[in-house]
Amino acid sequence: MVALFVHRFFHAVRRFLGHSIDYVAWFATFLPLLTGYLVAHSPVFGYAMTLALHILSFELFIALIPFTKLMHMFTVWVARYTNGATFGRKGVVT
């Protein structure tokens, strides 16, 4: 994920396309991962507090879904279905 982040930052096309909200989505995905690792391996703020942060960060992630590109988890199926159906009807195999 970090690699993807760095790549987005340095690749001309991706940096050009990226909007601030994309970076919000990245942090919202990364935080539960980071706090989850801390809970399991080095609970720096004490176990309960770190776990609370982990749960909170994941709730933040869920809360942000409808307002960010995280929505693509759901809309991707509509998009793929539509495009696939259109191509399929024309007999195009890709």
């Binding site: 096309v13 991706r14 590109k69 809309t75």
Partner: protein, 418 residues
């Protein structure tokens, strides 16, 4: 046709349907589509990333259909779309997109970006932000009957020349014929050899065919500029002609967007199914071949390749028929590295070839086709779209390459036993 910014924005709001909303929501800005677009790969300019070309449409979607967009708009914090902005995007939406559909096939989220471009063009037309060259072409098709001023008189003259040259009768307005042949003005204007070729092939295969005086032009400038109204009128013209002559099959000529317009968009535009079948000329000829009605003699030994017109192969589904036909008359057929539904565009489709300002850009991106052709060292390219043919010929001449570009129908006609 009146045009203004509010009408344009209104048109854009109206074209945002379920797929488009899903597409914008799904786009994760990964930039894969850039690598699929020859305007990006050949120039390296990120502005040519396909999804960036539809930015004005994204803005309208965001401001009208998303939480943040509506909130900001209600608070008066977002800038509405301006006519200047649309005009600024014109070179990206029209000059640098041939609607070849390559981006639509590589998008990991399945976004049909080509469809989005097509819809954005609807709004550009309504706002008066479409290129004048294309507006002219669309207007001429409505008034004269063809974007290149091919009138019925031109067709009649070509028929006379054909009959004189081949000794074969070319039927016009023959009621009850089995098939109605359409032509593209590019063919009639630039390659008059096409009509004698068709006459020879059809005569040999004993096809009952006809041309139609009220519907001879297949090119659909409405699809290219992005005006459903114009596109509908042109499709309706063909449907009326075909129904008047009571034909069973209408054949779309060697033209890319004509096929897309008539075969795939047509019934949706006029809102009902046709009473006849639509086939691309290569599909029809391949049927004749399979039935044993089309026989040829002699084979060419030159290294030959086939250029897939985007609208015929990737957006049309016709990949095998032209190859079957070429193999009838060629011994040394080779494929380019990326071909069939993965082919690279000639650089001039989707109306680009009608825009004078776009000539330097399309010649620059022709480098893609050039490198593909150079890699397999062919002397002859066959294609089934008069516009592709014209564009490849232009690129070949411009780059001083030793390659001949021919139409498949014409090549077959040379080998038809008479």
């Amino acid at each position: 046709m009146t045009m203004s910014l509010p009408q344009g924005v209104n048109a854009l709001v109206n074209v945002i349907d379920r797929p488009i909303a899903a597409y914008f929501n799904s786009c994760v800005h990964c930039g894969f589509c850039a690598e699929a677009c020859l305007f990006y790969t050949e120039t390296g300019d990120p502005r040519y990333t396909p999804i960036h070309k539809v930015e004005p449409l994204r803005k309208v979607w965001k401001q009208n259909f998303t939480f943040w967009g509506r909130l900001l708009r209600a608070l008066g914090l977002s800038k509405p779309l301006t006519l200047e902005e649309l005009k600024e995007w014109q070179p990206l939406v029209y000059d640098a997109c041939t609607m070849c559909g390559r981006c639509s096939t590589v998008c990991p989220l399945g976004n049909d970006i080509t469809y989005m471009i097509r819809k954005l063009r609807e709004g550009m037309v309504a706002a008066g932000a479409a290129p004048e060259d294309l507006e002219g072409a669309a207007f001429r098709t409505l008034t004269v009957g063809s974007p290149m001023q091919v009138t019925l008189e031109t067709i009649k003259a070509t028929i006379r020349h054909t009959e004189k040259e081949t000794g074969i009768k070319v039927p016009l307005d023959q009621e009850g014929a089995e098939v109605m042949m359409l032509l593209s003005s590019n063919e009639v204007g630039l390659y008059p050899e096409i009509m004698p070729a068709l006459a020879r092939v059809f005569d040999k295969a004993k096809v009952s065919w006809t041309l139609c005086s009220t519907a001879y032009e297949a090119t659909n400038a409405g699809i290219q500029i992005g005006s459903s109204d114009v596109a509908r009128t042109l499709v309706q013209r063909i449907v009326d002609g075909a129904e008047r002559l009571r034909v069973k099959i209408v054949i779309s000529p060697e033209c890319g967007h004509a096929y897309t317009a008539l075969r795939w968009d047509g019934p949706n535009l006029i809102g009902r199914p046709y009473g006849f079948k639509v086939l691309h000329i290569t599909e029809f000829l391949d049927q004749l071949r399979a039935e044993g009605r089309l026989t040829t003699s002699g084979k060419e030994s030159k290294r030959i390749t086939y250029h897939d017109p985007c609208q015929i192969a990737r957006r049309g589904g016709v990949v095998e028929p032209p190859r079957n036909l070429i193999k009838m008359v060629a011994d040394n057929f080779v494929e380019m590295d990326e071909t069939g539904t993965a082919n690279w565009c000639c650089g001039g489709g989707g109306g680009v070839s009608s825009i004078e300002r776009a000539i330097p850009l399309r010649r620059r991106v022709f480098s893609k086709k050039k490198s593909q052709l150079d890699a397999i060292n062919v002397k002859k390219v066959v294609t089934t779209c008069a516009n592709c043919r014209h564009m490849i010929e232009d690129g070949v001449e411009y780059n001083k390459m030793d390659v001949e570009v021919v139409s498949l129908t014409e090549m077959l006609a040379e080998h038809v036993q008479t």
